[in-house]
Structures are given as structure tokens and as C-alpha cells.
Symmetry: C2
Subunit: 398 residues, 2 copies
């Protein structure tokens, strides 16, 4: 029997408990012995919930029990999750987490501490919820040099953009509706400003490069300025508008960005709608592959955490190699990224010529022009756009 | 330094050699030491090719070299691949393969032999070419009970069906064109009769259930009878026609089938076109996820084999758990599978009533009727269809 603990009995934590209870027989078979949840840590009480049998309010109960070999950290936030994780690893317990803030901030350090203590720090659930993407990147695509990663990594914003596209609604109305349905939080900034997607692309870029990417270095733009007029133009161009997190190899480093983007029908990300997430990975040998599924939600995320617990149980005493060193990767400056840019200006067509040979797009909106520039760098675009009366700009992907 | 050998210098074998040469620096970093190809085994000579430096015609050179710890078996076919693989594993060498025939036929046995000798038998490239699907099933989705797998697992037939759909061509013309382009073989039966997809769904069902599935037990129907008229009806229904390999959990076992199927727009498999492959996996907790990419081709397949070689190098002396026991799984009989059936008959509408409350489909084709039955079992359908003058029948998925 292998004993485990779950730290946090919120949405994901109660999901992990439910997944293990429900699939106990099949999980035990895959582990090769029983995986038993011995403790659930939460400060609250849950009267009438069977979890009361294993509930504790004291982290020390877990840390002092040498038989506990696996801990799921599903508390969220940086503190005390960081301190608890570190102490668990140092006490010889593997930790499995869905905590993207902590992984993005301290991933490399915690992986090193785990290795030093012959245990594992696993974080499949931190990106893409239930979609297996961390393990494929880490263990499957290892013969490839990763050339590009592009993903729809946030379910809330994808739900909102899908709704805007289908129903012609404005940002504000869609946000209200998403909040009413529980898809968006009362303080939705982490989602709508792109901060959540930013942490996730930082984690993926760290794994692709093998070095620590600081998410603060990644240019991040949310969806708050996307309007129904933008969607009218997008449809004219046969495109969807998606909040894309992109990371591209540039020489010996990567350049990463989170921003709304026009995605063409030919791109497999075009059809990723509603709360679904997807990640495209392009290797220099493999070409493109895509991983698609439920990027959030209680049970999909819990399934990924519990899958890591099975993996940790199979690797007691063995360290799973994770290629992520603490040395910081200096990202290439955003100004070097190249795209076509879709621009709306209060002007007439001849003013668009400053961007070169542009393609005019007519979506029937008066007193403005819309056009696509040729491919140019962000730096070049900024230079040319100086002093112009630009209403909005959206990058075109691929 | 870890020494490796490649058995077979055909399309995939030369690809593996190329991938390792090209990405040697990054592969060495991920392994933690140099991965060196010491031998390439092939009966032929390759004058002028740098492979001549490491070419051998004698398998004994590899087996006798105790320093060779990893062998890529990319010869294809059952013999001598089976004997060579067995001897390598027994000699303490891990084997990585793209050989789906061998994996489908002897997978469980070879995994057990590998385990007995503290080495690994890895076969990511045997299903879905470059798409990571074996490792996610085996190591990521372990907390879930797999409820359904459905996939487009053969690139040749998907290319042909895409072409038929887009250009309104007939099967025979598309086959000729695919053969001229090198996408289909001169003897195309393994692809067009569904045998290739059948072996692959047998492998996936074995991994989902943990027991050995005999591919001979899987009902398999190819694409040779699909006509341009079928596509006319499919378009009326807003569907694509795909060669689907499907495996569904039924009680304690699974029921599997390979056959052309109508796939609706809402299904993520709908947009999988040309030579691309994709696998949808539905877990009881996770919901649906999809893995998409290049299902065949020299470099994608070679990338998957080389990725397994990196994994084998990271696991020298450690066994990667693979949940696939030699006990045979008795599949549920095909007759128990349920779908809607699309039927074309030389008849008039009232004769369709034998199938119950059918939905008539008018694709403007004279002297026949086309209709969708309600959901019923294969057994029930066969019973009702007895003695009727049916032109064609295609199942509807999802």
C-alpha cells in the first residue's frame, strides 16, 4: 500500500479525492498496489462529507507521517503552497500539483530539490487541465528541437471569444454572462488580461528550452479590447479570433507572447471553441502535432493530478527526468517577432500605404479602414504606426 | 556514452539515423550523456552514404556488443524482427520499435520479457506515427477508466477519402492518384482494407484494458466500397466520411471495430484531413481529449522512435511500467455495438419503415432512397436488413 495526502479540498482537491475513490480498483491495478488517501488537509470542516474521516487541519500530520509518499498540492497560490511543497520534497515525499503560479515561479528549483531527495515533482495539471501536454513534451518529443508552441491555454477567454464570434455580442455583455454562469470570476483579470495563459506558456517554454523562463518577461495582452467590429473583419478574412500564447525558437533562445490573434481555417486551433484548450507543438523533425481537450474544470484537472500520483507511485525511489534547469533563459525581444498585422484606422486607404503593400478588408464599417499589412517585425510595425490614429491592431498567426 | 543500434535502414531506419545526427546536441542534453549510433544493420550496401561507417550485415555484431544498450527495430514484418527483438531484450538491450504488426501480435510477451531482463520495450511509433499517444495512454491517463477510443489511424485512406470528398472523385481514380504520388502502395490492401488501422486499435485497446487484444477478433471493413454518391449524402447530412477505428468499453470488456463512418461537424475528428491522423480518447473523469498530427511519414515516425530511444537511455536499469498483460481479452461481440445507420436502398420510402422512425435524406440521386435509422444495435440492424436490397450502409459516429 502507498499512502497519499491531498493538500486543499477546494474544487480540484475534492475532484482528486473523487477520482481516486471512483476509480480506486483500476488505479490500484495500474499502480500495482493500493493507493490510499490517508489525509486531506483543509482549514475548513465539511460536515456530512465522507472526507471527514481523513480530514486534518494540520500540515504537520502529513509531514510527520513517513508512510505518506505522495502528496497532491492543490491549494493554489504561492504561499504556503511553496513552503509546504518544499518541506514535503525534503521529507522524501513526491508532490503532484495543478498550481501553475507556483510551477511558473519556482518550477526549476522544486524539480532540483525533488531530484536531490530522490523523489518527483510532477505538474501535468498545471497547463491545459486534463490535456496531457507536460509529459509528452518532457518524455515523448525529446528527439525533436521544439521550433514553435502555440496554444489556446485559457478556457474562460476562449468561451468568451467563441460567444462573441457566434452571437455578435460585445466584450462587456459576454463577460457578465460568463460571470453569471461561473465560467469567469468576479475579478476576472487573471483570465481576461492573459496572465493565466502567460504563466502556462512560460512553463511550456521552460520545458522546450530546458531553462527557466521568467513569465514577467513575456509580453501579454488580454482580450478586453476585442470588439464585435473586430469579429466582423475576422469573418471577412475567414479567421477566428483566439487568445493565443505563442513561443517561437529564435537562434539559441525563444520569443514568447500572449495576445489575441487572427487564426485561419487551415490552422487546427481554428476549431477549438468554448471552454476547450489546445496546444500545437511543432518539432523540427516531427512537424506539427496538436493536443486538445478540457483545459479546466474540476474532474479533468483532478484526473491529471491523480494521473501524476499514479506515476509518482510507480516511481518510488526513482527520479523521472525533467529537462528544466534553474538557469534563466533570456528571451528574444518581442520586437523581433514577425507577423502580418490587421489594422483599423480612422483614415482613408492611402494612409495605409505607410505599411507597404497592404490588403484592404471591407467589413462594411463606416468612417474607418481595415487592412492587413505584409509580414513585418513588431519593431518595424511600431516604428511605422507612430503618430497614426489606430483604432485597433490584431496579429495574424500562421 | 550510451551506444545504440538501428536494425533496418529503410524509410524509417534512415529517418532515425537522420534525426539523431541532426539533433545530436539537443538529444545528448536530454539524455544527460552522448547517445551514439554504433551500428546500423541492413543487408544492403549504401555506397556514398555516411551510414557506411557504421553499417553491418550481421545481427551478431549487435547482439555480441555488450556496450549496445538500446536497439531501434525498424525492419517491419514479423520475422526476423520477432526473433531479433527477443534476443536483444534477453541480452539486456532495450528495444524501441515502429513495427505495429509485431507489437499487435507479440506486444504483451515482449513487454514481459523486457521486464524480466530489467530493460524496456517501447513502441510509441507503432500507432499514430509522430503523434504521442502510447505514452499518454500509458503514463498520463492512468487515473481514468478509458470509456472510448476513436481514431483516424491510417494516413493513406484519410488522404483518399479527403480527396474523394473535395473533388467528387471515385474510389478507383483516387487510388490510382495516391499510388502515383507514393501515398498508397502498389498492393494497397493493408491500408484500404483497414488491416493497418485494425492492428493499431488492437494495440490501443490492449493498453486501455491492460490485457492482450487479438486483432483477428476485430471486425474490419475498408474503404473500397465507398462511392461518390455516399459523399453526396454525407454532405447533405453535414458529415464527413472517415475510416474510423473505434473501441468502446462494454461492462468489463471492450468492443472494437474498423469501418467507414459518418462523422459530424461537432466531432473534432471531422476536420482531420489529408494524411493527418488523430485519436480521441474519452476517460470517465477527463472527458474527451484528442491527439493530432502526422500519422506516418519518414521523419515524424523516426522522431517517435528516436524519442523512445531517449526515454530508454534515461531508464537504463529501470523498467517503465506498461499496463499490458498477456491474458487475452475476450471482446464483446460486434452485434452489441449501437449506432445510427445510414442506408441506401433501391426501393421507395415506405420500405424504410422496417427500421422504425427513419430520417429520409435527399441527395438528389434517382431511383434509390437514402435514410438514417434510429439508434440500434448491429445485431438488430442485421436482423431487419435481411432480404432487403441494400446498396450501401455506413454507420454514423457520435
Amino acid at each position: 500500500m502507498i499512502k497519499a495526502a491531498i493538500m486543499g479540498y477546494g474544487t480540484v482537491g475534492s475532484g482528486v479525492y473523487e477520482v481516486i475513490k471512483k476509480n480506486q480498483v483500476s488505479i490500484n491495478k495500474k499502480v500495482g498496489q493500493e493507493l490510499k488517501v490517508q489525509y486531506v488537509l483543509d482549514l475548513r470542516e465539511f460536515p456530512g462529507d465522507p472526507v471527514m474521516d481523513v480530514l486534518t487541519h494540520d500540515f504537520e500530520d502529513i509531514i510527520k507521517d513517513d508512510e505518506v509518499k505522495i502528496v497532491a498540492e492543490v491549494m493554489g497560490g504561492l504561499h504556503p503552497a511553496y513552503e509546504f511543497t518544499k518541506r514535503c520534497l525534503e521529507a522524501g515525499k513526491s508532490v503532484c500539483t495543478s498550481n501553475k503560479e507556483l510551477v511558473a515561479e519556482h518550477g526549476a528549483e522544486l524539480i532540483r530539490i525533488a531530484k536531490d531527495h530522490q523523489v518527483n515533482y510532477l505538474f501535468e495539471a498545471s497547463v491545459g487541465g486534463g490535456i496531457p501536454i507536460i509529459r509528452p513534451l518532457n518524455s515523448s518529443l525529446t528527439a525533436d528541437v521544439i521550433v514553435e508552441i502555440s496554444g489556446i491555454l485559457n478556457g474562460t477567454t476562449n468561451y468568451m471569444l467563441t460567444k462573441m464570434s457566434r452571437e455578435g455580442l460585445n466584450y462587456g455583455d459576454v463577460l457578465k454572462e460568463a460571470q453569471a454562469k461561473g465560467y469567469a470570476e468576479l475579478h476576472p483579470e487573471a483570465d481576461v488580461e492573459g496572465w493565466d495563459a502567460c504563466r502556462k506558456i512560460a512553463i511550456l517554454t521552460s520545458l522546450a528550452s530546458g531553462n527557466q523562463v521568467d513569465f514577467h518577461d513575456i509580453y501579454t495582452e488580454g482580450i478586453t479590447k476585442v470588439t464585435s467590429e473586430d469579429f466582423a473583419y475576422a469573418k471577412k478574412m475567414g479567421c477566428a479570433i483566439k487568445l493565443l500564447a505563442v513561443s517561437k525558437k529564435m537562434g539559441e533562445t525563444y520569443c514568447a507572447m500572449v495576445a489575441p490573434a487572427l487564426v485561419r481555417k487551415e490552422n487546427p486551433l481554428y476549431m477549438v471553441n468554448d471552454v476547450f484548450n489546445a496546444v500545437c507543438v511543432e518539432g523540427n523533425m516531427l512537424g506539427a502535432s496538436m493536443f486538445y481537450g478540457s483545459g479546466a474544470g474540476k474532474l479533468p484537472t483532478a484526473s491529471a493530478v491523480a494521473g501524476d500520483m499514479v506515476d509518482a507511485a510507480r516511481h518510488i525511489g526513482k527520479v523521472v527526468t525533467i529537462f528544466w534547469n534553474p538557469e534563466k533563459l533570456t528571451l528574444a525581444p518581442k520586437e523581433k517577432m514577425t507577423h502580418r498585422f490587421f489594422v483599423r484606422m480612422k483614415s482613408d486607404a492611402k494612409d495605409a500605404k505607410v505599411f507597404g503593400d497592404v490588403e484592404m478588408i471591407d467589413a462594411g464599417i463606416r468612417r474607418e479602414i481595415g487592412f492587413l499589412t505584409p509580414v513585418m517585425s513588431e519593431g518595424e510595425f511600431e516604428e511605422k504606426a507612430k503618430g497614426l490614429d489606430i483604432i485597433s491592431m490584431i496579429r495574424m498567426e500562421g
